[in-house]
């Protein structure tokens, strides 16, 4: 609808919809809609203690992120954002597996446009890889759902026991939560998006998956260790990363690791911790990405090796960014402290002291990168301010960052009110002398050690190979090893088939140009169609097989 509205009214629609959704959520805090769908009972809306906090924070970030991108996002990007936010809401509100899958795929299909809106050939290619990985994940998820349905005859989305069928569902969820080794799509694609696009991307997909894991697989012990591994994995890669938004993307993985570990612990306190951390994470990571996005928007640079000495040019952005950085680092008085301590408390209450210490180690890494390395080499460090051409930062960006900074401080200052949002009643006091002292020690001594080793911390002009190597580099290696891919025969205009293909490709190109502008075709290889053809056939065969299995 958005492109059809006159230019003046567009902001009203773009920001009004999240606002309307928020009002509806507040008016109907226990809404549940059930209906019959081809003989199956489905429940498209289920608002309860689990889904409510996620729905609230999704609406908040959709609205505030919208303010942030008001001036900079294109119309198509805004449409995709609304569809993406809506389908993410659909995922957390879905009460059955069918609605869940529907919104799950809608979320993938709309979010890929945010990646593509980076309008860069590399963004186009990263978007295709993102789509490819998520489609595979979606098929696995759908396979699991159908198999589960034929096993139990139920589409209910509740805690599952681990069976072969639900394991497929679990894999689908883990892929979308970016659990290594199924995570590389995130760090590959997200940093290719626009400044505002990445704010939305970081908020919805992984957190909707954390919600799905909480619903479906609380207390699965494997998740504890996957979560801990994730938390540390992100930290290691963040040391090596030079691209500021990819650095923050690795910290999404790290932070989601806390949530996944908490889901694995599975006690009531732990699930409270996962919810609280997801809620706070969306707010502080949004703020961090807005800060980084503002720098990229103003300077056109996104590498630490190309930034430095910006403090005098962008002091306000620095201040707001640091509120986000202190929040993610769990500094007392900020939101991350209030939420992360719940998870750590749950782990120590469950007697998992190794988990507690490993997660503390990850916390050190978090502060090291987002609180020290990134701001130091962006706003201070080697002074490149004379060679950097700093453009203006639009006012809506400041407004949005201010709103998120205020929310992060509010959560940090009034934890008791924040805790009432969580699924289970929680009696927990984060502000004890011992906890404050512990976090102060952690932050101060991390800062001291990083100062000592600061020469090793500087960005390097490298890229890091990760699990995406498997589909980015390995095929070429294999092809080289077997002596090259057989080329397709040159199109022969005399044959009807080739004429049809050429026509089809021209049509596709025209659509792409219309949607993404004149650069759309740069990343496109005309000979991609066999891939799509084969993929389509495999997909169809899989669906037919599953359908037959279900009927039989």
């Amino acid at each position: 609808v958005l492109p059809l509205l006159p230019r003046m009214l567009r902001p009203v629609w773009f920001l009004g919809l999240p606002l309307l959704a928020g009002v509806l959520l507040l008016l109907e805090p226990d809404l549940a809609v059930r209906m019959e769908f081809y003989g199956y009972e489905i429940q498209p809306i289920r608002l309860d203690g689990f889904s409510r906090p996620f729905a609230y924070v999704f609406v908040v970030i959709a609205g505030v992120g919208g303010v942030y991108g008001l001036r900079t996002m294109g119309v198509g990007e805004k449409v995709a954002t609304l569809a993406y936010a809506g389908s993410a809401l659909g995922v957390v509100l879905a009460g059955d597996l069918l609605s869940l899958f529907f919104f799950w795929e809608l979320k993938v299909a709309s979010s890929v446009f945010l990646v593509w809106s980076g309008r860069d050939p590399e963004a186009g290619r990263a978007g295709l890889r993102y789509l490819f990985v998520h489609l595979v994940g979606g098929v696995i998820l759908l396979g699991g759902i159908l198999w589960h349905l034929s096993d139990t005859g139920s589409l209910a989305f509740a805690a599952f026991g681990l069976t072969p069928a639900t394991s497929l569902i679990l894999i689908g969820f883990l892929l979308s939560a970016a659990v290594p080794p199924l995570h590389a799509w995130l760090t590959d694609a997200y940093p290719q998006s626009t400044a505002a696009g990445m704010v939305f991307l970081s908020a919805f997909t992984t957190k909707a998956s954390v919600y799905a894991l909480m619903r479906g697989f609380p207390g699965v012990e494997l998740l504890i260790w996957l979560g801990v591994a994730m938390a540390l994995y992100g930290v290691v890669y963040a040391v090596l990363e030079n691209d500021i938004r990819r650095l923050l993307a690795y910290h999404i993985i790290s932070q989601v690791g806390y949530m996944v570990a908490a889901v694995g612990i599975g006690t009531e306190i732990a699930l409270n911790g996962a919810t609280a951390h997801a809620f706070a994470h969306i707010l502080y990571k949004g703020l961090l990405l807005m800060g980084a996005g503002a720098v990229i928007h103003a300077t056109g640079r996104d590498r630490l090796t190309a930034l430095g000495g910006l403090y005098r040019a962008m002091p306000v952005v620095f201040g707001l960014y640091m509120i986000g950085a202190l929040s993610i680092s769990a500094a007392p008085l900020f939101s991350g402290f209030v939420s992360k301590e719940v998870t750590l408390y749950a782990a120590s209450a469950a007697g998992l002291s190794a988990v507690v210490w490993l997660l503390k180690l990850a916390s050190i890494g978090t502060f090291l990168h987002t609180g020290l390395k990134l701001p130091y080499f962006t706003w201070f460090g080697p002074d490149r301010s004379t060679e950097i051409d700093v453009g203006p930062t639009p006012a809506p960006m400041y407004v949005a960052m201010g709103m998120l900074a205020a929310l992060n401080l509010a959560i940090g200052l009034f934890p008791a009110a924040f805790y009432t949002l969580l699924p289970y009643p929680l009696d927990f006091e984060p502000y004890t002398g011992a906890k404050v002292a512990e976090l102060t020690q952690l932050l101060v001594f991390t800062a001291l050690a990083s100062w000592w080793l600061r020469s090793k911390l500087a960005g390097e002009r490298t890229v890091s190979v990760d699990a995406d190597w498997i589909y980015r580099k390995a095929p070429a290696r294999v092809a080289a090893a077997i002596g090259g891919v057989p080329r397709l025969p040159e199109p022969d205009p005399a044959r009807a088939w080739d004429r049809g293909v050429a026509l089809w490709e021209r049509g596709i190109l025209a659509v792409r140009r219309a949607v993404f502008g004149p650069h759309a075709d740069l990343g496109h290889k005309p000979s991609d169609y066999p891939t799509w053809l084969i993929g389509g056939v495999v997909l169809a065969a899989l669906l037919v097989t599953l359908g037959l299995g279900h009927v039989g």
Partner: protein, 84 residues
């Protein structure tokens, strides 16, 4: 460098005293853990990076599909294209 170690040790002393007053056992543990942990993260990750992970920036630049200057990152830095 001398000043740095002086500050570090002074901070450690302050923290141990604070922990003793608050009754945290054993005093200063988290401080030492953080200092050592941070050093391990930096040195360990760099080692892993040099040994296994890091590649030149044009590692994924494919031979056939893109002209040199339109590959991500490098060109953005050099030309200063605004991607906002």
């Amino acid at each position: 460098v001398k000043g740095f170690w002086f500050v570090t040790i002074a901070a450690l002393v302050v923290i141990v005293i604070a922990d003793l007053l608050l009754g945290v056992q054993p005093p200063g543990l988290v401080a030492v853990f953080s200092f050592a942990g941070c050093a391990v993260i930096i040195v360990g990750s760099k080692w892993l990076g040099k040994r296994f992970i890091q590649r030149p920036e044009d590692y994924y630049r494919t031979q056939t599909t893109l002209p040199e200057d339109v590959v991500s990152g490098a060109h953005r830095e050099e030309r200063g294209v605004d991607r906002g």
